[in-house]
Symmetry: C2
Subunit: 248 residues, 2 copies
């Protein structure tokens, strides 16, 4: 039995977790890897891929809503919390498939997953041999010093909750010009540049900290549309799979 | 016409925003202040107070779900985004009431409010004469170095998004012993102590940063059950209302 690397795709609603899941799985399969996709969003209405394992077979937010006459908010929370009870079934399915890469698409609302007890617990239980987290940042939020710093702080907060090797991904990079991507990289490399670009001194100080504490501070520009950056993601995943937990 | 201080209560789902809204409004009224409560959660099923102004009169997640046949997730997002279109009505109602304190209970899911464009925009438009944000941290999440650091990072991330004077509130303080509260204060005052209490060096470094960038780094212990800390919150609010934006 080979090692399984579980890759958890997290990020705020709308950041593009599901499309990245789909694009990344396709890319890895085209490179002759055996990939399984696990959908962990019990409230997903539409998915751009066909999951090999689907939490909705066990727990569905829509049916919880109907069955217990809950509102949308309460039914989402109940659904996410109930997922824990089906971990053993999911693990069994993963073992049966025994893929090299398990790509896990997490619930649409990051908060419900990462900032309740459920998410960190599920990631831990499903981490198999090796695991890592991709934190997806929407390019729209990364263009300004404030938006970039806020996204990276959120990522760091999630990293502390989930406690796995975590890589920031700058998703929808096809929406950015090369100059904008360079600008974002410069803002992270040189916190003073955050101030130059209009951030406050606070933002600049926060930038300095993020740079100093993150293993890989610069988010990797990725596009599910044109495929850019997927090769770099793959290389990092290979490193985690075969080597230590911390990519350098 | 007197000044109006708009106090936005934010925090993750389950942190106790609505009960704090209720307790704080009661406290302020008992101190002879004219207080109005605005409920901004379009998906609230039950509220422990009677709002003076209620977003559900204009936008309801439940009826959006029925009307457009959306799932729980999509209906929540649609409801929060639709709130923006009713800001003028809400502002009119606030002007008619003309309170000294406007306590604003925000959507259950912090993510949908703070990490979409809607929240920061609404806070800005409703900020009236003066405004501040209370970021509610659940005591359960603050007991460990990791949980505390993660909560404070999330708070800082929200502060960068909303850009208002922001105070951290340690809610449900009645669930903590005096020793636990002291421990939390010590962890923030002395980042080394985060490591002593079992945090990693990373957590300790993050603690140092939070201490250095936050205006008021220590969260104020508050209980909606026994009323502790509400006097201190009131004092800070008075300061913001009558003086500058930054409480010291």
């Amino acid at each position: 039995m080979v090692n399984i690397l579980a890759v958890f795709i997290t990020g705020t609603a709308g950041s593009g977790k599901s499309t990245l899941t789909s694009a990344l799985a396709d890319y890895l399969e085209n490179q002759d890897n055996y990939v399984s996709i696990l959908n962990l969003d019990p409230a997903a209405e539409y998915l751009p891929y066909t999951p090999d394992i689907d939490i909705r077979d066990y727990v569905s937010a829509r049916s919880i809503m109907r069955k217990y006459k809950l509102g949308p908010n309460a039914s989402l929370i109940a659904a996410v919390d109930l997922m824990v009870t089906r971990i053993d079934d999911i693990k069994q399915q993963i073992s049966d498939l025994d893929p090299t890469y398990l790509i896990v698409d997490t619930p649409g609302q990051l908060e419900m997953f990462a900032f309740r007890d459920t998410g960190p617990l599920i990631v831990d239980r499903l981490s198999m041999d090796k695991s890592m987290v991709l934190f997806v940042i929407d390019s729209v939020h990364a263009r300004t010093p404030l938006g970039l710093a806020s996204s990276l702080l959120l990522s760091l907060s999630v990293q502390l909750r989930i406690q796995k090797t975590q890589i920031n991904v700058l998703n929808k990079a096809d929406l950015l010009t090369e100059e904008e991507i360079e600008d974002i990289e410069n803002m992270i490399e040189d916190p003073d540049y955050l101030e130059v670009k209009g951030g406050s001194e606070l933002v600049s100080r926060i930038g300095g900290v993020i740079r100093s504490v993150n293993i890989l501070p610069e988010p990797i520009p990725v596009s599910s549309v044109n495929g850019q950056g997927l090769d770099r993601l793959h290389a990092i995943m290979e490193q985690v799979l075969t080597g230590g937990d911390k990519p350098s």
